[in-house]
């Protein structure tokens, strides 16, 4: 799934992208292996590929020119603080990659948001405040208009390594629909709420369609929505609950984007959604939502039984 944005980032940044991704993956896996060895757990925990995903995602969320130590620090924090203490991957209460990114954002905002200009030859020209998210938070409508819709969708703007190209991200979303269709409910809930909020409350003097497009393309909103909100450890299981969880995360992310200090606060939004979801869940339970779900599940199970009985009955 991560292959699509990776290929696009390789197309734009060449070897730099490869190096960044490799750094992220290797450091995450190495840190996890070391921690597992120290804690005398089985190394076979690595085979769920969660560490690989974490390192990969952190590299994708950072600029292509991010130094090795930055990627390594993010991956190490994600694994050591947000994953290892809680046991196996599906028990972590927060998405580890989002935690690592949030830590880096708080510690080194200057490095994390130092995106290279995408049209420079060797990516040593740094264009401060040129990313879409930065322009959105500054309300710079003229520059956004000059970027152009096509380059916005295809990721031909300066920004993080793998989060810019909306087409590639939607492609991996399609892969998701084929491979794990249940997770699509999370993405749907998330994107629905985000686009609704973007249309209803456009920032600056944007027209509503432009606001919708830029909000979705800017920063790591799409990336987080597709890869972090769907995280199997933190997400609920029932499709409707998944949708509500996605919407809940979307509201928090958009609020943070509107009022946050940093130009891209989506990671914090994901973490907050993880943290507050149990409370939201108990609120839902008070309303009687869980009973409703149980009833519908029971009904469905009955229908299945009837169908199975019919199918079993026909050949007999």
């Amino acid at each position: 799934m991560l292959a699509a944005p990776a290929i696009v980032s390789w197309y734009y940044y060449g070897g730099l992208a490869f190096k960044a991704i490799l750094t992220g993956v290797i450091s995450a896996v190495a840190v996890e292996a070391a921690a597992l060895l120290i804690m005398k757990r089985k190394l076979s925990c690595l085979s769920d590929m969660h560490a690989v995903f974490t390192g990969f995602a952190i590299a994708m969320l950072l600029p292509a020119t991010a130094p090795v130590w930055l990627i390594g620090a993010g991956a190490a924090f994600a694994i050591l603080v947000a994953k290892i203490p809680f046991g196996p991957a599906h028990k972590a209460p927060f998405v580890p990659a989002a935690a690592g990114m949030a830590f880096l954002t708080v510690c080194f905002p200057g490095e994390v948001f130092k995106y290279p200009a995408i049209d420079s030859a060797s990516f040593d020209v740094f264009d401060a405040g040129s990313s879409l998210a930065a322009q959105l938070s500054a309300g710079g409508i003229q520059h956004v208009n000059s970027v152009g819709m096509m380059s916005m969708i295809s990721g031909n703007v300066s920004g993080a390594l793998g989060t810019c190209c909306a087409v590639a991200l939607l492609g991996s979303c399609a892969l998701l629909a084929v491979g794990k269709p249940k997770r699509l409910f999370n993405v749907l809930g998330f994107l629905t709420v985000c686009s609704l909020l973007a249309v209803i409350f456009p920032r600056g003097s944007f027209s509503r369609p432009v606001s919708l497009l830029t909000e979705l393309c800017a920063g790591s909103l799409l990336f987080s929505g597709i890869f972090f909100v769907t995280d199997p450890g933190t997400s609920p299981k029932h499709p409707l609950t998944r949708f509500i969880y996605g919407a809940f995360a979307g509201i928090i992310c958009m609020i943070l984007r509107y009022f946050g200090t940093f130009e891209d606060g989506t990671c914090f939004g994901i973490l907050l959604a993880n943290a507050f979801w149990p409370i939201a869940d108990s609120a839902l339970r008070k309303v009687g939502y869980h009973k409703f779900i149980e009833k519908s599940m029971a009904k469905r199970a009955e229908k299945r039984k009837q169908k199975a009985a019919l199918k079993g009955g026909e050949p007999a």
């Binding site: 203490p85 510690c107 609920p236 299981k237 609950t241 869940d281 339970r285 779900i293 149980e294």
Partner: protein, 324 residues
């Protein structure tokens, strides 16, 4: 306990500093540590200021406040703490004016530390002077033993100095100086302590203690005069059953003899901590619950109990939802 051994200082050290560490296990008094213990200097200052406040308040509570109603007692703790802290702040401002700036309002907030209210209310007003004094010293030691390493560690990682002197750490992480960094460091410390307790003193690990407390609550509820008074036998039984159903690990209602034994066993070594002075020489939580009118803070384990139960419910719900 009921055996005539005197409560010694090493008992207090073991119980109040280590097993029931005020910060890491009881999760009290976090505010100052998380917010302001970012350097070794302020950590030492806070720890030092905490000693007189806790000891004097607890000794005073033990000597003079046993007959005062509860709602006045808590206010008096605050007043005593404020008086001491005011003196300390005045002394610091006069003699070493350059220190107090870092601690700011949190030095003053030490007077309203939740550890003070917790230990005075749960222990000092129920025991003799010796017990209260030892407990206060041991608790303050436990507080210092947490806040000083936390302050040192955060200073080293966050600003690459120790006691103001520069040590050359290649990469500093200023995020650790923020409150969330404090929570992270505390969480690792607490996990380490829990692991140590679970490994070395498995009989004191929090889960078994919770179990013991739950069973002893069930037992003591049977003996409570309120339940026995109405002379209706079936009602208290029903209540007991419901309590036992809430705790999944509690044994079946017929085997109530067994948990009594376990409770008695643990009485002998650790739960001296909770022994009420005017009890009949037997540990019984009903004594502690008896004057809890509001029932908000029942005992050390109750908040965690609730959390655990909720988490279990949550998990089982998720499992029910899952994969169908």
């Amino acid at each position: 306990m009921s055996s005539g051994r005197k409560y010694s200082f090493s008992d207090a050290l073991f119980s109040s500093t280590f097993i029931h560490n005020p910060v890491l296990i009881q999760a009290a008094g976090l505010c100052a540590i998380v917010a302001v213990a970012t350097t070794l200097k302020t950590a030492v200052l806070l720890a030092a200021a905490f000693f007189p406040v806790l000891i004097i308040t607890q000794v005073f509570a033990c000597l003079a406040l046993k007959r005062v109603p509860r709602w006045i007692r808590v206010a008096i703790y605050l007043l005593i703490g404020t008086a001491i802290i005011a003196g300390i702040i005045y002394a610091i401002d006069t003699f070493v004016p350059e220190i107090s700036l870092g601690a700011g309002i949190y030095l003053a907030l030490t007077a309203a530390n939740s550890i003070i209210a917790l230990h005075c209310e749960k222990l000092a007003v129920k025991t003799d002077l010796r017990h209260a004094f030892f407990d206060s010293v041991a608790t303050a030691l436990g507080y210092a033993a947490v806040i000083i390493p936390v302050g040192a560690l955060r200073e080293m990682i966050g600003s690459s100095t120790i006691w103001g002197a520069d040590i050359k750490v290649p990469i500093t992480y200023p995020a650790i100086l923020m409150p969330f960094g404090g929570f992270l460091v505390l969480a690792f410390f607490a996990a380490a302590l829990k692991a140590l307790i679970n490994k070395r003193f498995p009989e004191h690990s929090a889960e078994t203690e919770m179990k013991i407390k739950k069973t002893s609550v069930i037992i003591s509820k049977k003996n409570l005069p309120e339940n026995a008074a109405p002379a209706k036998e079936p009602e208290p039984e029903v209540e007991n059953e419901s309590v036992e159903e809430e705790s999944p690990e509690a044994p079946a209602p017929e085997e109530t003899a067994e948990p009594e034994e376990t409770a008695e066993e643990t009485e002998k070594d650790d739960l001296t901590h909770f022994e009420p002075l005017d009890g009949e020489g037997k540990f019984d939580l009903s004594q502690i619950f008896a004057d809890d009118d509001d029932g908000e803070d029942k005992d050390y384990g109750s908040a965690f109990n609730r959390l655990f139960d909720e988490a279990k419910d949550f998990d089982s719900d998720e499992k029910k939802e899952g994969d169908k």
